[in-house]
Each structure stands twice: as structure tokens, then as C-alpha cells.
């Protein structure tokens, strides 16, 4: 009995904790340097991507090894709208990114969700690499290996071209990206705790049973695929103006590997796991890359270590520590 109360108490702690962490993140530009704010900005973009990715990976149990494709779709949408069509409205970019990626994901997803496990991973990898080759080959359209420039977008219709770039990124744009992250996190929370989210979990754990109970397994997987692709596109669209340039490297298979890495590092069994993984990955990469030119080895070793020793990721480790304490109490 006491145990259950304890858990309820912990659960009630969770929301205030999330709000506090969110506020701290929002205030980063006030106390940290511009560069750290920029890192957090890239984190927001990746955070949105991995939350979406985890709907597929953690909740539906489908490992996509080509998810960077949709991030690139979002990023290239931003490039096309700002550079080619001179329509630098961020809201328009986001909506366009969602639409384009949803259409593409609906097509690709319709093929992919017929398979699971390694076949699903391979098919998504093949599509990711096909898109990579497409971006490289159709250079008169996409700029090939050189990529395309992404100009500074208007936020809510307001032109900020007067502000210095770093001030813009660490100020207005930072808040803008944070708000979008907050909204999309909330929406995802609603999705996973809705009947739809529960069905996905049921499908992951026992597809035959779910099918027997009248859940259309393929359709649900397909929905999850499209939603996660839309999230990735929003992430990519937010990342692109911060970087200022998009290139096909965004959709190479190792980039998709990075998304998987983040989710695993943080713990894909937990809603906030991928977010923890994202922030840890970005901060770790930032310091390890400066430290040694053999940073790939260190990252590989971390991945191997997590896979073997802590498959639950950071959130998993924290979770089991909390549980142990509960038991002791």
C-alpha cells in the first residue's frame, strides 16, 4: 500500500519537474554564452526529431535506420522556401515541411510497415540512401553535394534581419524553437497516452493478439510512421535556419544511426528518454570532438557499452535507481 502511494507521489512530482527543467532550458540564453545557447538550439531540433522517432522505435517497436531522410526533407523545405521561392515565413515552412514529409512518409510507410524488425530497418535504410543519392544526383535542383543556402526566416511574419545573427539565434529564434518543442512534446504526450498510443504498445508486445482484438496492426504502424516523419521534418526545418546551409550529408545512413543512438542512450522505454539522450549526445559530442580526433572511437565505445551494460539507457538507469530506493524505503 505504502509503495503505491510512493509511486503516486513520484508521479505527481514528475510534472513540476518537467516544468522546472523546461523553464531552465528556456532561460539558458540569460546565463550561458551564445555558443551554449546555440547548442541547445540544435538540441531542440533534434529533440523534436527523436520524440517523433521514438513513437516508432520505442512505442511501435519499429527500428527505422533511414529516419534522417525526413529530417532532411524538413531542412530542404526550409532551403527551398527561403532561397528558391523567397517565402521566408517560418510558419509556412513548418506547415510545408509537415505536408511534404507526411505525403512522402505515407508512400514510403505504406511499403515499409508491411515488414518488421530487420526488414523494416533495411527497407528504411534503402529509402534513406535512395534519397541521399537523389539529392546528390539532381544537383540542378538540390545543389548536389554543395547543398543549398537557408536564409533567415520571418517569425510570425516579422522580419528580424536587423538583428545580428547570433543574437537572433540565441534570442527570438531560441524562444520560438522552444515553444514549438514544448507544444510538440505536449502533443506527443497526448498521443502516447491516448488509446492510439496504448494500441501501438499492444501491437509491439504482441501483434497477433492485437490483431485478434480487432486492432489493424498495419494501419496503426502506418499512422505512427507518418507522425514520426512529420516530427522529424519539423526538427529538420528548425535546424536548417540555425545552420544556414543544408547538404545531402543530413540523410546519410550514419545520420540515421545518430538518431537511434540518441534514443538508445537516453532510454527508448521512457517518454523523456530520447530527450535526455539527445542532450547528452550533443553535449558529449561537443566536448569529445574538441578533445581528440579519435572521437568516433569513443562514441562507438559508448554505444557498445550502452548496448551491453545499460540497454535501458540513462533513463533506465535512473529508473532502476529510483525503484531500488523505493524498495528500501
Amino acid at each position: 500500500m505504502k509503495n503505491r502511494q510512493e509511486i503516486a507521489r513520484l508521479k505527481s512530482l514528475k510534472l513540476p519537474l518537467v516544468i522546472v527543467i523546461g523553464l531552465v532550458l528556456l532561460c539558458v540564453p540569460l546565463f550561458a554564452g551564445q555558443f551554449f545557447s546555440y547548442l541547445m538550439l540544435t538540441f531542440f531540433a533534434y529533440a523534436i526529431t527523436v520524440i517523433g522517432f521514438n513513437l516508432l522505435f520505442g512505442y511501435a517497436g519499429l527500428l527505422s535506420f533511414g529516419h534522417a531522410l525526413f529530417m532532411a526533407v524538413g531542412a530542404y523545405t526550409a532551403a527551398f522556401l527561403t532561397s528558391t521561392f523567397a517565402l521566408p515565413y517560418m510558419e509556412l515552412i513548418l506547415v510545408a515541411a509537415v505536408i511534404v514529409s507526411a505525403i512522402l512518409a505515407a508512400l514510403i510507410g505504406a511499403l515499409c510497415v508491411r515488414y518488421i524488425k530487420i526488414y523494416f530497418a533495411m527497407l528504411t535504410l534503402a529509402f534513406g540512401m535512395l534519397f541521399y543519392t537523389f539529392l546528390l544526383k539532381f544537383y540542378y535542383l538540390t545543389g548536389g553535394d554543395e547543398g543549398m543556402r537557408v536564409l533567415r526566416p520571418y517569425l510570425l511574419g516579422i522580419d528580424f534581419s536587423g538583428t545580428p545573427k547570433m543574437q537572433f539565434l540565441a534570442g527570438t529564434y531560441y524562444i520560438y524553437a522552444f515553444v514549438i518543442l514544448a507544444i510538440l512534446t505536449f502533443v506527443m504526450w497526448k498521443i502516447v497516452s491516448s488509446p492510439f498510443g496504448l494500441c501501438l504498445k499492444a501491437i509491439r508486445d504482441n501483434p497477433e493478439k492485437a490483431e485478434y482484438l480487432g486492432v489493424s496492426v498495419k494501419k496503426y504502424r502506418w499512422y505512427a510512421f507518418v507522425i514520426s516523419a512529420a516530427y522529424a521534418a519539423v526538427g529538420g526545418a528548425l535546424l536548417a535556419p540555425a545552420v544556414g546551409q543544408v547538404d545531402p550529408g543530413l540523410t546519410y545512413w550514419t545520420q540515421s544511426g545518430t538518431l537511434v543512438f540518441m534514443s538508445l542512450l537516453g532510454g527508448f522505454d521512457y517518454f523523456f528518454g530520447p530527450l535526455i539522450g539527445g542532450i547528452v549526445y550533443i553535449l558529449l559530442q561537443n566536448s569529445v570532438m574538441s578533445l581528440t580526433s579519435y572521437w568516433r572511437f569513443i562514441f562507438g565505445a559508448i554505444l557498445v557499452f550502452v548496448v551491453i551494460v545499460a540497454p535501458g539507457g540513462i533513463a533506465g538507469v535512473i529508473g532502476s535507481l529510483v525503484k531500488r530506493r523505493e524498495r528500501r524505503d
Binding site: 530497418a121 534503402a126 565505445a301
Partner: protein, 295 residues
């Protein structure tokens, strides 16, 4: 005629190394259900190590014409050392887990081994000079073919033959075939699966390192060679069917010859053709051309 022969020879040469790497992927996947992303890196390791060994011997007046012997030995030895280390040291911990973890473990390995190669051999391209030319060239109906390329094709065929003999006619092969579907089956029959997995993974590694060692005299070892190959090897096994040795053989031939043909006729389409075929196969016949038959 000459042109067709040239395209055919180059395609088959390419296919022969692709087959070795893909076969390494297949044997491991067939038995252990691990999709080994590091197979391309093993290929790179084999290439660099082969150069080091042969160069060292030639400096000590080893007859150049016989270089193929230590080269093969180097590829074998490296695989026999690296394979068990990785299997016992890392892979064995994740067999009970979801396939995802095994895939990610090999992804981590790719990152680590890439830097290991850079650490040992640096970033400069390494080659054996013109050692492969000691065998000269052969004129077949007007097409000039380096004899060494034929040697590589021959070696690859011999290895293919050996593998199929191993699978069909030995106790080890019967165990592999019996346990390809279910690990529990093997254990129920009283087979020590630990040893089987060790052997299988080592075999997979050896095929990769041997492939790298064999191909490198005809080119040079460069740091990006493993990354480059993994995507192609992946295409081969998807087309041929995951886990099927016959599939690796046919798939390698298809990819190799098709690539060669595309380059000679419509070079812009080279890689696109291969991805489109991969996706077409996955959509129409996801188990691949030979996916039905096991190992």
C-alpha cells in the same frame, strides 16, 4: 565482343569481392540473426593488414610471384584473431536481446574500428606498388584482362565451393543448417551453441578480411573503403535474400555486372539503379530471390 567481355570481366571481378563480404554477412545472419554492419570494416582491416604483411615479406626478399600465399594467410589469420575477440568480448552479451541491439552493437563497432585503422595506418592511401602485375595480362578475344583479377575471381569461386561443401557435407554445416531457424533446437539436441556461434562469427569475419586482402593488390587501401562497401554488400544480401549463401552468390553477380553495365551505358544511373532494384526486390519479394532456402 571485346566491349562485352570487358564489361563482363570487370563486373565479375567486382562481384567476387562483393560475394566474399556478403557471404560473411549471410553466414552470421543465417545462424545468429545478427545483421553485421561491421562486415565492411573487416574488409578494410583485411586490406590494410594484407599490405603490411606482404610489404614486410617483399622487403626481406620474399619471391614476388608467390605473394598471394602470405596474402591469403594474412587475411585468414587476421579474421581468426579478430573474429573470436569480438564474438567473445562483445557479441555474446547481446544474443538474448532484440535484433535492434545487435544491429546497434555492430554500428558501434564500425565507428570504433574505423578509428583503429586510422590510428594504426594513418590516412594515407596504402598500396603494394605494382606487385599484382608480376602475373601479367591475358588477351581474351581482344579484351585485355589482368591475370591477377582472374586469380581473385578464381579464389572467390574456390571459397564459394568450400563454403557450400562445408555447409552440405560436414557435421558443422549440418548443425548450422539445423540451427539456422531456432537456437533452442540446437540446444535441445545437446549442441554447444556457444562454440557454434564462435565458429560462425569467426567464419563471417574471415570472409570479410580475406575479401579485403585479396582485392587490395589490384587497388589501394583507403580509409573510406569499408563504408563504401557496406552499402553495396547490403544491396547484395537484400537482392539475394537474407541468410542465403546462394543468394549472396547470385546477388553479388547481379550487383557487380549491373554496376559495370550501367557505367558503360548510362553512367549517371549507376547507384540509383542499384537502390531501385533493392527497393523493388524488398517490395515485390521481401525475402529476396533465394530467401526461401536457408543458408
Amino acid at each position: 565482343m571485346e566491349t562485352i567481355l570487358n564489361i563482363l570481366f570487370s563486373g565479375v571481378f567486382h562481384a567476387s569481392t562483393l560475394f566474399l563480404v556478403a557471404a560473411g554477412l549471410q553466414v552470421v545472419f543465417g545462424v545468429q540473426k545478427v545483421f553485421n554492419l561491421a562486415c565492411g570494416t573487416f574488409y578494410g582491416l583485411g586490406a590494410y593488414f594484407g599490405i603490411t604483411v606482404v610489404k614486410c615479406l617483399v622487403e626481406h626478399n620474399f619471391p614476388k610471384a608467390l605473394f598471394i600465399v602470405p596474402l591469403i594467410a594474412a587475411g585468414l589469420a587476421l579474421g581468426l584473431v579478430v573474429g573470436p575477440i569480438i564474438e567473445r568480448g562483445l557479441m555474446k552479451f547481446v544474443y538474448d536481446r532484440d535484433e535492434t541491439f545487435q544491429l546497434l552493437l555492430t554500428f558501434g563497432l564500425v565507428m570504433m574500428l574505423e578509428d583503429v585503422i586510422k590510428f594504426i595506418w594513418g590516412t594515407s592511401p596504402q598500396s603494394m606498388g605494382g606487385i599484382d602485375m608480376v602475373y601479367g595480362q591475358l588477351n581474351v578475344l581482344g579484351a585485355t584482362v589482368p591475370v591477377y583479377n582472374l586469380v581473385v575471381i578464381l579464389c572467390s569461386l574456390i571459397i564459394a565451393g568450400l563454403i557450400s561443401w562445408l555447409l552440405m557435407n560436414t557435421r558443422f554445416g549440418r548443425i548450422i543448417r539445423a540451427t539456422a531457424d531456432k537456437r533452442e533446437m540446437g540446444e535441445a539436441l545437446g549442441i554447444n551453441m556457444k562454440v557454434v556461434y564462435l565458429k560462425v562469427f569467426t567464419l563471417g569475419t574471415v570472409l570479410g578480411t580475406l575479401g579485403g586482402a585479396l582485392v587490395v593488390p589490384a587497388g589501394a587501401a583507403v580509409s573510406e573503403m569499408g563504408m563504401d562497401l557496406i552499402v553495396l554488400a547490403f544491396a547484395v544480401v537484400v537482392i539475394g535474400g537474407l541468410g542465403s549463401m546462394k543468394g549472396a552468390f547470385v546477388g553479388a553477380l547481379i550487383v557487380g555486372v549491373l554496376k559495370s553495365l550501367a557505367i558503360s551505358t548510362y553512367p549517371e544511373m549507376e547507384m540509383l539503379t542499384i537502390y531501385i532494384i533493392v527497393i523493388a526486390v524488398l517490395v515485390i519479394k521481401p525475402q529476396g530471390l533465394f530467401g526461401g532456402s536457408r543458408v
